[in-house]
């Protein structure tokens, strides 16, 4: 159950119990009050009965005293008693109205009291007239008998009333005990529920506290990561003002965060060249969301500078308004040094190949040219061996020339910048196939070109790849009676894979690793011509496009060459 629901239900139960306890207590108090009223009532009946009896006794005593002493003083309690007794009887009647048995007794008593009073009056009156006669009347024991009946009736009345009192007291005590028990039980349940609630809330609070601690720790970890990452992070508002920057960037720049955030604009940290680059790129950032690998020199607080490479994303609010940019900055010093070194090396290499192409080819042409002059001008005077040797010189220098050309070609492909064109592969291959068909009309070649996926890349270079692979396939199939070349492509993952399959000389798979090396050949020169650079060029072009090359083959059964181009 959810915590909130638990708490609400717990409180509802507790509240209900408290209300119930209130109602119960109120009700119980009422009934106890009633019970004690009844006890009171009984006490009162007893008290009033005793009072009545005492009044009656006073009357009796007064009457007797007077008759014995003829002292009029004795008549004072007698007449007071007579005065009081009627209201007392009336009151008792009122008190016992609820109890018919007692009421009947009271009625009986009333009659007896009337008789007794009448007798006493008779005695007193008679005594005043004739004391002797009154003595007679007294000794007739009529009064005593009457008084005995009255006392007996009072006894009944009071014993019943006492019994009632006992009964009511016991009942009252029972009621109190019961209500106490119920009250304690309800209190206990309430306390238990409250304890449970308290425990639940405590657990929840503890869990919350722990979560809060963990959150705090996680946020500290993230902050630490942000601040001490091995690259610079910062955010800029639309005006280029620093909104945030991490420690790494601050350390690189020599500023404190306080000096940077809200005080410096990114433009303040740029030299003229950087400003130019930024002006080109920052509006772009607002439009394009992302800039990649923009390089410029950033100026430190001490006015020295170092090269950085930055990547930015733009952040927009929910309405699509540009809010700020978020940027990672990498120290590009080492990279730049490495690049400079590579550039220097490249330049040296270029100078070298340039020299090679000029200075090596020139004497080579002389060798070939003069050997040819020898052949042309002195052919008649040379014997057969002389002619053969001259031919070897001419042929070898041609081959050396070809090797130099191929090598230069190969090195040029590595240095040349790649253009990025959309390439209709199918059209390109169809055209090349047609060219080959026209060139090799004598050869019965059957081309089977399946659908080829388009790709992006350097048009001329990719054409070179197909040209080399096609001429390779044709060259190594020449000794077959019929040449079948199959070309196709398929998509695998994020790459398009192209293949060209022939039924030519093939190769032994144990030499497959040599296939794409420079000047590596798997066939003797007198079997198949070539310098061994064609496939090396293929590999270099494909690799520069981010793809890779591989081949499968069986001796005498043909070969399949594959290359992939990332989409």
């Amino acid at each position: 159950m959810r915590f909130e629901l638990k708490v609400v239900i717990g409180f509802i139960i507790t509240l209900s119990l408290v209300i119930l306890m209130g109602i119960y207590t109120y009700d119980n108090n009422n009934s106890q009050l009633k019970a004690s009223l009844w006890v009171d009532h009984t006490h009162q009946v007893l008290y009033r009965s005793e009072q009545l009896l005492s009044t009656l006794t006073d009357i009796e005593t007064g009457q007797r005293g007077f008759c014995l002493t003829n002292n009029i003083d004795f008549l004072v309690p007698y007449s007071i008693g007579k005065q009081n007794i009627h209201p007392q009887v009336k009151f008792l009647k009122l008190l016992t109205r609820d109890n018919p048995r007692q009421y009947t007794r009271i009625l009986k008593l009333e009659k007896l009291i009337e008789q007794k009073l009448a007798f006493s009056d008779e005695v007193v009156d008679l005594y005043k007239k004739n004391p002797q006669e009154s003595i007679l009347l007294i000794t007739s024991l009529k009064g005593k008998k009457l008084m005995d009946v009255i006392r007996l009736t009072f006894g009944d009345l009071m014993s019943e009333e006492k019994m009632l009192l006992e009964q009511r007291t016991i009942e009252n005590e029972k009621q109190i005990a019961k209500s106490n028990l119920i009250f304690i039980a309800m209190l206990a349940v309430t306390v238990l529920i409250l304890l449970g609630l308290f425990y639940t809330i405590y657990l929840n609070l503890r869990a919350r506290n722990r979560a809060e601690q963990e959150l705090l720790k996680a946020s500290k970890d993230i902050e630490d990561l942000y601040d001490n990452a091995p690259c610079g992070y910062h955010s800029l508002d639309p005006n280029g003002m620093f909104l945030q920057a991490n420690n790494t960037l601050c350390e690189w720049l020599g500023y404190t965060k306080e000096e940077l955030i809200g005080k410096k604009k990114i433009f303040d940290l740029m030299n003229e060249e950087g400003l130019k680059s930024f002006q080109e790129n920052f509006p772009k950032l607002k439009e394009k969301w992302v800039i990649h690998n923009v390089q410029f020199d950033i100026v430190r607080k001490d006015k020295t500078s170092f090269p950085v490479i930055v990547n930015s994303t733009a952040i927009y609010d929910s309405n699509g308004n540009y809010l700020k940019s978020r940027t990672t900055t990498f120290d590009n010093t080492e990279q730049k040094q490495a690049n400079d070194k590579i550039n220097t090396l490249n330049e040296e290499l270029e100078a070298f190949t340039y020299t090679v192409s000029h200075d090596l080819r020139s004497p080579l042409r002389s060798i070939s040219g003069y050997a040819q002059i020898l052949q042309e001008d002195y052919g008649q005077t040379l014997d057969d061996e002389g002619k053969r040797v001259t031919n070897v010189i001419i042929k070898s220098s041609k081959r050396l020339g070809q090797l130099i050309d191929d090598l230069l070609n190969f090195s040029q492909i590595g240095r040349k910048e790649l253009s990025n064109n959309h390439i209709n592969m199918h059209a390109m291959v169809e055209q090349l196939v047609n060219d080959f068909k026209e060139q090799g009309k004598t050869l019965p070649i059957e081309f089977n070109v399946h659908h080829l996926d388009d790709c992006r890349g350097d048009l001329n270079m990719i054409r070179q790849v197909w040209y080399n692979l096609l001429s390779n396939a044709i060259k190594y199939s020449q000794k077959k009676n019929s040449i079948n070349i199959e070309i196709g492509s398929y998509v695998k993952g994020s790459e398009s894979i192209y293949y060209i399959k022939d039924n030519g000389a093939g190769f032994d798979m144990q030499y497959v690793h040599k296939l794409f090396g420079v000047f590596q050949r798997l066939h003797r020169i007198n079997e198949f011509e070539g310098t061994g650079v064609g496939l090396a060029i293929v590999k270099r072009i494909v690799t520069r496009h981010g793809g890779h090359v591989w081949a499968e083959g069986l001796p005498d059964l043909g070969a399949t060459f594959y290359f992939s181009i990332p989409n």
């Binding site: 340039y354 192409s357 000029h358 080819r361 020139s362 004497p363 080579l364 042409r365 002389s366 070939s368 040219g369 003069y370 040819q372 002059i373 220098s397 041609k398 020339g401 230069l408 040029q412």
Partner: protein, 139 residues
Amino acid sequence: MIQHALDILLVEDNPDDAELAIRALRKSNLANHLLHLQDGQEALDYLFDEKNTKPKLVLLDLKMPKVDGIEVLRKLKADERTRTIPVVMLTSSKEERDIVETYKLGVNAYIVKPLDFEQFGTAIGQLGLFWLVLNQTPQ
């Protein structure tokens, strides 16, 4: 002073290459009015001397000591007097940047000497025929 007609001015520092070129031109009967100079400075001296007859065609090697072919080309094409002379670069290597640079300077053709002497002879022959016979230049 009446000067001999001059068809071709060959500027080539390598005597072997020069000999082969001249031999190839001779084969096509184009070497009758040919002047061979050995470096760029000589070529500039000759071409900017008013007394000398202007050639109908300059065959210019690219790589030469002192003043190289590109420098000669630049000066020829920058000067009103020599701008209209057709200049053909005749060089050993097909280097993209050289091709681009010479074309920017206004070269009329750029020929990579074939290694094979026969092909070289054919190329030179066709070249001479085109520029000396077929092509019309302003008088």
